[in-house]
Symmetry: C2
Subunit: 196 residues, 2 copies
């Protein structure tokens, strides 16, 4: 009856951004996560200010922070690169904190999915991280010979830009860690008036 | 592009339990919710100890508390009562904090659903609250003439016992409040090896 992790992957990179003026992250060998998120990271905090991601709240409203970590997939980054006609898209350029490999269609993992790391840390998926224009500008800066990379990024990264998550259990995350993925039981809610 | 609430219902009852020895809740006209949950309620707290609900954690491990509030549906409680052959099942007997009416199949609302109340409070659904035996014993105590209500409760309440949720935005919740329900975009994750 009890759920168990059904998938596994690997955390190929761990990245952090401790600055305010950029979202670009830099690689570390490991990072500690607490109930606030990644220690020192710009997205850490028990709460955050509502913004364009949550337009149903007045901008600036303090809300529980469910966007403590940003996760991307090696496979999906390769798809984004192919769509843009460039060799690679780096997790750092997207401000990601974790790059996972081996989890098919990472961006499609549903809300409530849990990610278990070997040294206690557990992350809970809030949902898809919809692409915005910022990473496109970083990519463009790295490829000045290519046209319109910034404006093409959002479309190229749609449904491939990864997830946002928060810390359910504190612990340590190391580059190279195996990650076990527990997807919740599927739930289909049919809104009244809509065909099933 | 932005999500909007697609459903609405009414909070017909607000209930709280401030004691340790029972889970039975008592009705109030209103309650304040903070990032810790319902002020003074036994399930409040930024964190909780992992237990039988989360068997993938060692028992007692501190984890983020996603079970701050328990929600039930008037319609589903009526179905449970019918299945048990008794006139009513009260939200208080199930230790619920909110009884909502007018939301079809409340227990099937997916993880990540948001519930918006008129005075700022917003709850985020963690998922289904699977029935355990405790409420069955309370129901049995109220109906000593009926057989085996305690042992029949779990089956009768399966998929009807409501949801657990946590506070995304603090505020006030009053009995009688309209509740707007925002269901996330449907996501289907097909596990490798399983038919779609």
């Amino acid at each position: 009856m009890s759920l168990k992790p059904q998938l596994s992957g690997r955390a190929v990179r761990v990245l952090v951004c401790t600055e305010r003026k950029t979202f670009v992250t830099r690689e570390l060998a490991e990072t500690r996560v607490t109930f606030e998120g990644i220690e020192g990271d710009r997205h850490a905090g028990l709460t955050r200010s509502a913004d364009v991601r949550t337009p149903w709240f007045p901008k600036g409203t303090p809300i529980r922070n469910t966007r403590q970590l940003s996760l991307v997939s090696s496979e999906e980054l390769a798809e984004v690169a192919e769509a843009l006609g460039i060799p690679k898209v780096l997790a750092a350029w997207l401000g990601a904190n974790l790059e996972l490999a081996g989890v098919p269609r990472l961006t499609h993992l549903p809300p409530g999915t849990r990610l278990f790391f070997p040294e206690d840390a557990v992350l809970a998926v809030e949902g898809e991280n919809e692409p915005c224009r910022g990473p496109g500008r970083v990519i463009e800066a790295h490829h000045p010979d290519k046209e319109k990379l910034a404006s093409r990024f959002v479309k190229a990264a749609w449904r491939r830009r990864g997830l946002v998550a928060w810390v359910e259990r504190p612990g340590l995350i190391r580059a190279g860690d195996e990650v076990r993925v527990m997807v919740p039981r599927p739930v289909t809610y049919v809104l009244p008036g809509k065909p099933a």
